[in-house]
Symmetry: D2
Subunit: 86 residues, 4 copies
DNA sequence: AACGCATAAGTAAGAC
DNA sequence: GTCTTACTTATGCGTT
């Protein structure tokens, strides 16, 4: 990118470079945390816990209970209609 | 969990609770960063960049360049065999 | 691929071509069925059903109940430990 | 669903049941075909093909070739701007 | 026409 | 070492 090119192009290039660097930095951080999570599961396993069950609990707790039950209403209605009522 | 249960169980429960809380805290952080990444892509889009192409660049840069070209070779070979040579 | 190349190469190329064509044919079929499914949801919606709830029912029913409850045992144990018993 | 409920509800329930059964039947078919595809890849692998490259070829062929090159152009442009020109 | 969601593909890790 | 399973990414679809 030299001075023979229109300025707008080099500006866009700089902008692009900057965006990508920000993304890459953030992805690094994310990967670091993912590694930490893995470590916790490994530690749990080493202490005799079933990691598969662990993951399910985490997953279940993740569903926001408010929103979940909001949907539950419609769901229950349909399930009753099908004779699937719990 | 009352005093009628063996002590070892309550210890395990405490340990479990602790593990799960650590995981949940880390996952929150991870989700936060994922959100930040999304924001950067949104910003890029708002500035007229093609986010799909952006993602491809990030992805390409991620791959170890040596290993990348190794794959490219196999791919080219197959494509030639199919008469799909670029 | 001409007769100046070793025969084994052209054989491999034929084999490759054949494999790919089989895959492509199957993927076409699969896409056709996916389209049919979409149509059924559209029809359901046209009859006043909430497609989101519909999808959830289908999803719930998909989990093989036997295997699901098998896992449920461990899960319940852990949830009790956390004071999350339903 | 007994005669104490309004007739419209039981009609809706029947309709719903029917819709769900149709969806489930189609999803079964779809899963069957997905299995067939997996088998073809397995066969390819057994014959010494690199399945990863295979998948990429199938994927590439899927894209409308015109649209593909359109994307390639944008990508090249961005890569040049970053000094990543191949 | 653009946004977010939901499914589907591909990738990488863990179990047997 | 293979094979499944889980996670991540990507594409396409429905909605607004």
């Amino acid at each position: 990118m030299t001075e023979t090119l229109p300025q707008t192009e080099s500006v866009a290039a700089d902008q692009l470079k900057c965006l990508i660097e920000r993304i890459e930095r953030l992805e690094e951080e994310k990967a670091g945390i993912a590694g930490d999570i893995k470590d916790v599961y490994a530690e749990a396993k080493a202490n005799g816990f079933d990691t598969k069950a662990l993951r399910r609990i985490v997953s279940i707790r993740k569903q926001d209970h408010a929103e979940r039950q909001e949907q539950e209403a419609i769901l229950d209605l349909y399930m009753q209609a099908l004779g699937m009522a719990a």
